[in-house]
């Protein structure tokens, strides 16, 4: 490893100043579990790492206007333990709890998981299904963008090199909605997903007719993505096992997985069908459970 400088930023303005001073090769470091591995593997060698975990603005989980704020440098462990997340958006707690190991979750952050932008990021399908809004700061000021559209390709987001992800807002509208995240991997722990599926849905507690639905897939294409066709078929329909099976087939058909060392395209497609079905039935059980 060649020499790399380190700057600890105390505020988001200091981050922008450091990015402007050091130029486009500078790297932000939050938990660092991906960044340090990328450097070790020679993927890039930044002249400087800019530490962002001490910035109060990027920390914490708290109610905010229209929803729940989750700071970009919140660790996965903090997400899984947060009473607010567990109560309102348990699907996200479940996804954060499936990242890496306990030791990794103690340092790795939710913002890092998203900015790293790999197709297999565990929190991506859950945040997509929760309609998360990403709050981003750049030299021109703040902008808010839906996470759906945040990913530009494998390992790439729409963030410019001089921008900083501040955090996410999850909408009040989906607080307490039925939700479930399923991940398929060879090992039950400390493994990267072959594919994943998150479902968030609201339904009439009486006849189980779906009011609003979000289905998002991991490792089902170059970027984490929503399953639009399956969502359209779910909305307004009565949710039951037969429908869940059908939606699994629709999601598998619209998914664009590829063959890699971890799994073949065909196997991934079959597993997406299974995971989507299971996630829908879990989300439905969640709704029925809340009713009784």
């Amino acid at each position: 490893m060649v020499r790399i400088e380190y700057v600890e930023a105390a505020s988001s303005d200091e981050v922008l100043a450091a990015l402007s001073q050091w130029g486009p090769d500078a790297r932000l470091i939050a938990g660092g579990t991906d960044v340090l591995m990328d450097i070790r593997r020679g993927k890039y060698t930044p002249p400087v790492l800019i530490g962002i975990t001490e910035i109060p603005e990027l920390q914490g989980i708290r109610p905010t206007e229209g929803g729940l704020w989750i700071g970009a440098v919140t660790t996965h462990h903090a997400v899984t333990m947060s009473p607010l997340v567990l109560e309102r958006y348990p699907v996200l707690a479940s996804a954060s709890g499936k990242v890496g190991s306990h030791q990794i979750r103690n340092v790795a952050t939710i913002g890092g998981n998203i900015c790293n932008a790999v197709p297999c990021a565990d929190t991506a399908p859950a945040l997509l299904a929760l309609d998360a809004q990403a709050h981003v700061l750049g030299p021109e000021g703040k902008r808010v963008l839906p996470l759906d559209g945040f990913f530009a390709g494998p390992g790439r987001s729409v963030l410019a090199r001089n921008e900083l992800l501040l955090g996410f807002v999850l909408p009040d509208r989906l607080a307490g909605a039925g939700g479930s995240y399923h991940k398929h991997s060879w090992r039950e722990a400390l493994d990267i997903q072959m594919c994943g599926a998150a479902v968030v849905l609201t339904a009439d507690p009486g006849d189980c007719r779906c009011l609003e639905a979000r289905i998002a897939l991991g490792t089902a294409g170059p970027v984490p993505r929503r399953a639009d066709a399956a969502e359209a078929a779910l909305k307004g329909a009565v949710v039951n096992e037969e429908l869940a099976s059908e939606l699994g087939r629709i999601a598998a058909a619209e998914a664009r997985p590829r063959t890699s060392a971890r799994a073949t395209e065909e196997y991934r497609r079959e597993m997406i069908e299974v995971l989507v079905k299971r996630a829908i039935l879990d989300a439905l059980a969640h709704i029925k459970g809340a009713r009784s």
């Binding site: 020499r3 380190y6 591995m37 450097i39 462990h77 190991s101 990794i104 103690n106 340092v107």
Partner: protein
């Protein structure tokens, strides 16, 4: 080089480090605390586990420069006045150590688990140590050791470190 002060096992160390050095590298190569092991160097095996402010982390994926102002505990810091920590003693009593390479990380993860959850069941123990690989024991004795240590904790012989 950058000058930092690291608090390791209750002692402050003034050190000159390169900003990109990992905590694992500094512990082993600059402080001669070689109880912390380098296994995969990729966050997969947990052999490099240490406690930072009571939390288990992989020191191979943590920059030393970010450890300043925090309380670091390595395996060398667990025994007090020549007396093994209850988790260490349980590993000895049960026979949970074979080659020993995973043991420091396994013990520290167990210490942090019992601080969070003083009475874990076997499933919770297995989940908790899923980031610590052992290629010798098959984990059975390790799980037994942590169960025994948990009993010691509840009967008052006590895991004092958080």
């Amino acid at each position: 080089m950058k000058e930092i002060t690291l608090n390791v096992n209750g002692e402050n160390h003034r050190l000159e480090i390169e900003p990109h050095w990992t905590l694992l590298y500094v512990l082993r190569e600059k402080l001669d605390l070689v109880g912390t092991k380098e296994g995969c160097n990729a966050g997969d095996c947990g052999a490099c586990t240490v406690l930072i402010d009571g939390k288990a982390i992989n020191s191979c994926l943590f920059l030393a420069v970010r450890s300043e102002g925090r309380r670091i505990v390595t395996i060398e810091g667990l025994a007090q006045n020549g007396k093994l920590h209850p988790v260490q003693q349980a590993f000895v009593d049960v026979g949970a150590v074979q080659c020993g390479f995973c043991t420091p990380g396994m013990v520290l993860r167990a210490v942090s688990l019992l601080a969070e959850n003083p009475q874990p069941d076997a499933t919770e123990i297995r989940q908790a140590i899923s980031g610590n690989l052992c290629r010798c024991t098959g984990y059975v004795k390790i799980v037994q050791a942590i169960e025994l240590a948990a009993q010691d904790v509840t009967t008052g012989s006590g895991v004092s470190d958080e």
